[in-house]
Amino acid sequence: MADATFVPARIRLDTLSLSSAGLLLIIALGIAAPLIAPHDPNATNLLARSQPPVWMEGGTWAHMFGTDNIGRDLLSRCLYGIRTSFGIATLGLIFSAVLGVALGLISGLGGTWVDRIMMTITDVFITLPNLLLLLCGIALLGTDVWVLVLMIGLIRWEAYARLVRGQVLALRAEGYVEASRALGGSTFRIAVRHILPNLASPLVVILTLSFPGVLLMEAGLSFLGVGVQPPTSSLGRMIGDGRDYLINAWWISGIPSIVIVTITLLFQLIGDALRDRIDVLTDG
């Protein structure tokens, strides 16, 4: 059986739990931002602008991660940024998951013609350039948070629809589904008793695997300046804003970059570990 990760087998289980713990910690920090942030993320302090982080010369404990070019505390902004990013990503993901699952179920259970039409639609959607559509949508509708959630959701639904449909079709052909029909079971019973329970676990896996992508999409848009708008802070925006100060104050972009990298690495570790586990399970 091919293993798709380089993490050695022995410590695989520990990797999963450690990464999950790390990620949950970060999320918790983000949720608790209003409580634990040392400063107001939008409070400017021109006297303390472009202060380096505490471990560099000139840094103070008052601004542990330093400040940006107009004196805003980076630690607080990062905490709030985590909150914003996760919030938008979660909502967007839920939206596209619901949409995708519903359409996938319809496609899989609905009969050949419904299926063919749905499949053509999803095929076309897949080939459309995501980012461009996102940009057009934002240009049309503005950069309201809800617009971002909506657009992000609309971009990804087809992946889930495909998965659900594929699972439904595969499960429909399973021996026990046909056996259930032979016993007199109705389509509804089959869907509820046999298909949905077997759908839950791969769905959870693929949602976990797509979360970082959605998160990065928002971060990327904010980086470009067309995502979250000030005063709401977002990690991507912070990186974008700090681009011009890289020479003298690299930490303005650097700190939020490190945060993003940490988050995505943790997700990556979890994703790989999950994929391995699922493989092991399906091998019986």
Binding site: T127, P129, L131, L133, L135, C136, I138, L216, G240, V261
Partner: protein, 306 residues
């Protein structure tokens, strides 16, 4: 094979048509340009007169037809801000984007495939582990962060490479590498998995039973079979390349198409946006068709079964 390709081509045409519709609708929904032209205000009659003059009060179907025929003649409208013709704006900047993108693609293929293949064959070696570790990182970290990191390291710390613009060949290095890294990672990871999968198949055993050396088995049997699914992955990655180039151009301030588009979003410059949408979609669709063709040629099971 004909059937396979015919189906794909039909789908491509439908996609492009849908894109055109979306672009058109976006353009129309964005409102009329007249508010921009007369920021101090405009009377209702003047507005109606202007609309009639530009044919904006016609039924949408008719407007769509005009839209399409304009495009066929090369007229894609003008930027709302600069009044430069959209086509010209893009034509000026396309070469830079294509150059960086093309080089990145080449680099990704030349680095990613061998990396993944060797990682699969020599699984336990430290080199393979390091390589896959690199791929792990490259896959997870977004383009713009990689770009910033490289700028900091090579641009400021080492002062070895230029970080803005594209005036000399050295200017290409950092942007191309930034764009390529996630793709190298994805290709390497995928190649590794595909090779490991191929190794598990019975024909590898048959090959070994002929007395072939490991190298011969790897080249003739494992690698050839792993290449086929790789082709499909390449298609997906190329689409991602277009996305990535927008970010890379922002980070390195390159004179490419990406900057134009981002500015257009901020400024709601819809004529520019709709052209960008169409152009990008066309590229993706064409590339996918090429990939499909390559796939058909490479896999005899599809080629000879229609």
């Amino acid at each position: 094979m004909i059937r396979f390709m015919a189906f794909r081509i039909a789908r491509a045409v439908i996609t492009m048509f849908l894109v055109l519709v979306i672009a058109f609708v976006t353009l129309r929904l964005s409102g009329t340009p007249f508010e921009f032209m007369y920021p101090e205000g405009i009377t209702a009659e003047h507005l109606a007169a202007l609309e009639a003059k530009y044919g904006l009060d016609r039924p949408w179907i008719e407007q769509f037809w005009t839209y399409l025929s304009d495009m066929a003649q090369g007229n894609f409208g003008r930027s709302l801000y600069t009044s430069v013709r959209v086509w010209v704006m893009f034509a000026d900047r396309m070469p830079a984007t294509l150059a960086v993108g093309g080089l990145a693609l080449l680099l990704a293929i030349m680095a990613g495939i061998p990396l993944g293949a060797c990682a699969a064959l020599y699984r336990a070696s430290p080199g393979a582990r390091a390589g896959m570790g690199f791929a792990f990182l490259g896959y997870a970290i977004p383009h713009f962060v990689i770009g910033i990191g490289l700028i900091l390291f090579f641009g400021y710390y080492l002062r070895a490479l230029p970080t803005t613009g594209l005036t000399t060949p050295q200017h290409y290095i950092l942007p191309v590498v930034t764009l390529a890294i996630p793709m190298i990672a994805a290709i390497a990871r995928f190649m590794r998995a595909a090779m490991l999968d191929a190794i598990g198949h019975a024909y590898v055993n048959t090959a070994a039973s002929k007395g072939l050396t490991d190298g011969q088995v790897a080249r003739g049997h494992i690698f050839r079979n792993a290449l086929i699914p790789l082709i499909t992955v390449l298609g997906l990655e190329i689409a991602g390349l277009l996305n990535g180039s927008i970010f890379v151009e922002a980070v390195f301030s390159l004179p490419g198409v990406g900057r134009v588009l981002v500015d257009a979003v901020e400024g709601r410059d819809f004529p520019v946006l709709q052209f960008g949408l169409i152009a990008y979609a066309l590229i993706v669709v064409l590339v996918n068709l090429l990939i499909d063709l390559a796939y058909v040629i490479a896999d005899p099971r599809i080629r000879l079964e229609g």
